[in-house]
């Protein structure tokens, strides 16, 4: 039986053992390898992000680079999107995606330069969701991370720079660049339709998407430094994110009320090897993913929003995030 909480288990790079598991939030029952048991075949990749759109989940995977499309209600596989052999347009370490109409826009890290350790040849790849064909790779000038659709435009956090790029799908052009502190990473919208961005240099930024003006910058934010994990509650008024240490020993949860203007100094909870965070929509329970340093399969720790621990549940390898169905 599939539970109502989906756990994205990234898997160990090279082992391609990423999985999707579920939790029944009422009973705590865990269904490991839910995708494999529904479909009879495993994801067999590293899963970076799962995006929900129109009753479907899109799991963005690398090594192998592909997108697994499956139904939100029963996890039945719908399609695997990947370039054909020798195709002119390919994914290159895809990380996340955004969908507008029948087109998916996939952010791709590109190729790691082993001398500078900078990602090069980063792209935004357009996928036709009617044919699942990769149509075009648009070159980006910095490594992209998360994407968010606001008002028909794609906001792209260019983590390899200090900019949020606003991409217009009507013209396939970046129409505006919003300057922020270095390393913009994860973005969420609050109840006032303001865009919050966590930057890996340790800052939170509030942007008004109507004007694309930066309204507030809160610095000295304790953060993860790599692949930031941030969520906002269902009401859209409290941000929660993982912080302190670094990848992937991220080991504390901080929160911020959207009306606050200074960085929090004490975490709600802390622990070891934390790698993902979620907040349940109705009950406001905190779901924290413990990666177990990728040596073992991970665990999910549940807490009340005030930090009171509830229970510990099994997960797959390297859990990195949650979706609530």
């Amino acid at each position: 039986m599939l539970g109502d909480v989906v756990v994205v288990n990234e898997g160990n790079f090279q082992s391609a053992d990423g999985t999707l598991s579920t939790i029944n939030s009422q009973t705590g029952a865990v269904s490991l390898e839910a995708f494999a048991s529904t479909n009879g075949f495993p994801v067999a990749a590293t899963i970076q992000n799962v995006i929900e759109h129109n009753g479907l989940y899109y799991a963005v995977c690398n090594a192998p680079d592909k997108i697994e499309v499956f139904r939100k209600d029963n996890f039945a596989s719908v399609a695997t999107i990947r370039p054909g052999f020798g195709a002119p347009v390919v994914f290159n370490s895809p990380f996340s995606l955004a969908i507008i109409g029948n087109t998916a826009y996939v952010s791709n890290w590109g190729t790691l330069n082993f001398t500078t350790f900078i990602w090069e040849n980063s792209t935004l790849v357009k996928v036709n969701l009617l044919t699942n064909a990769l149509e075009e790779a648009i070159t980006l000038d910095a490594q992209p991370q998360h994407l968010l659709v606001i008002d028909g435009k794609i906001y792209m956090a260019l983590v390899g720079s200090d900019e949020i790029a606003v991409f217009d799908p009507a013209t396939d052009q970046i129409t505006e660049r919003i300057e922020v502190p270095a390393g913009p990473d994860r973005m969420v919208l609050d109840r006032n339709d303001r865009l919050w961005v966590i930057c890996n240099s340790g800052a939170l930024v509030r942007i008004n998407p109507a004007t694309n003006a930066v309204e507030a910058t809160i610095s000295n934010i304790p953060n993860a430094g790599f692949n930031e994990k941030m969520v906002i509650d269902d009401e859209g008024d409290t941000l929660y994110w993982l912080s302190s240490a670094g990848f992937p020993t991220t080991n504390a949860v901080y929160s911020l009320d959207i009306t606050q203007t200074t960085a929090p100094t004490t975490p709600i909870i802390s622990g070891q090897n934390w790698y993902g965070i979620g907040i349940s929509p109705d009950t406001d329970l905190l779901y924290v993913a413990d990666s177990k340093a990728f040596q073992s399969n991970g665990e999910v720790l549940r807490y009340q929003a005030n930090g009171q621990p509830i229970d510990t549940l099994a997960a797959g390898r390297g859990p990195n995030g949650f979706l609530f169905r």
């Binding site: 898997g11 082992s15 391609a16 053992d17 990423g18 999985t19 490991l32 390898e33 494999a36 009879g40 075949f41 495993p42 994801v43 067999a44 990749a45 090594a63 192998p64 680079d65 592909k66 990947r82 370039p83 052999f85 390919v90 994914f91 190729t111 790691l112 330069n113 082993f114 001398t115 090069e120 430094g225 790599f226 302190s244 240490a245 670094g246 990848f247 992937p248 020993t249 080991n251 090897n273 990666s291 177990k292 340093a293 990728f294 040596q295 073992s296 399969n297 797959g316 390898r317």
Partner: protein, 507 residues
Amino acid sequence: MQYGAASALYGSDAVGGSILLQESLPKPGFGGGAFVEVGSFGHYAHGGQLQYAPQGRFSGQSKWYYAYSENDFPYRDFQGRRQTQNQARVKYGGWMQQLNYRFRSKTFLSLNAWFHQNDRQIQPVINNFQANESLFDQSLRVVADFQTQFRLHHFSAKLGYVGDRQTYLDGASGSTFRTRKYVGLMEYERQWGTRWQFRAGADVYHTQGQSPNLGGAVHENRYAGFASGRGQLRPFWNMSLSLRQTWVDGFTAPFAPSWGNAWKIWQSPKHQWQIKTLAARSFRIPTLNDRYWQPGGNLALRPEQGWNLEGGLQYRFQKTDWHIETELTHYRLWVEDWIFWRPTENGYWSPENLRSVRGQGFELSGNGHWSPGPWLVRLQLQMAYTRSEEVSEAHLPPRQLPYVPRWRAGGFLHLQRKQAWLRLQSQYTSLRYETLDNRVGPASSVPAFQLWGLAAGYSRAFREKQALHLSLQVENLLNTAYQNYIFRAMPGRSFQLRLQYTFSSHP
């Protein structure tokens, strides 16, 4: 002769071992041979060797080998679709040269050189058609070996150089890792009476590593002294004792003794029972990568250290056309300060002396030989049970290390009649875990598998001291689908045909 990659990248220790590779002097006269081999999935190979020891002081030996495999084998993917393996090509080749000069009957100087090159693509997981990673290794080993014997005294001195270079490529982007190792070794050995042998010596290693990942060039010196003796304490009791102390720049490795005994407990013309024991201290020095890799290298690492204990019972049976040998061994090992890399709070992975490992297991082997008339029948069976468990987290039960199977078994049946032979072999590996928590599941463990193989051959001698050998080998006879490493496809049934020519003019 051991082919294959003795790569320097992850095992500077392995490289140290291989310089001691010793070749005996060729027998007087000439000998040699050559072979060609073709096989499934784009495989072909050739090689040959020549030994020359004319009358006089010079002798020598030359060898070459080359093998290429496209490895474009078919497999079924997760949804049962037929796919062709991509990006799994392997090619390697090399050349070895030995030249010897004999000063006196038991005094000689030997020069050995071995060049090896290995170019292999890194096989991606099933259905990854975009992967483009490869490794290219080159290594050159040169050793000068002087040996002399005077009555019961034997003395040898070696000077060696090992150069290794490995390039990792992901498409056009990549990095190169280089090591150069200089080795000096001196050893004295003497016979004491007819029952005792004594050996002592010292070696020095100077290693240079160079890579962007080491932050440029790094150096390491190692010195070791060793002594050992072995002999017969009583007619039924053989004993050996070895002592070794290694020093490395910056730290001292543990003193490593080893002590072995063998007792013949019962003996008759047909039966022989023997007990063997071994106790040894072991250690592993952190590699240059462990110490200097950027980022993450940890100069504060201690060597891994452990103890092995081993005891065995051996039984032999002999009759005119019969021979049986069986052995049961039990072992235990304790390893502390096991080095492993883990994510740190600084945003990268770093090695630490964190784990403790306990191992225990047994090995059972049996070997039978039967030669009725023109026939020769050989049967060999072995099995091993291994518990290799991580025990450093006290609140958790002992956990089997990833990829160490609990059970392994194998064996072969070999039938020969004059110049023709047939061999059936099989090998079993039990389920292996992918992670330390020992979970079983499609993405958490690799299923058990058993493979069968069949080979047949025919040899024909002609003229004087020349022969042709033809053999056909079928691997994975039953076309079993299995994986060695999670989600990596393995080839189904494959064939290899080999033709070999040998000659010799040894008196």
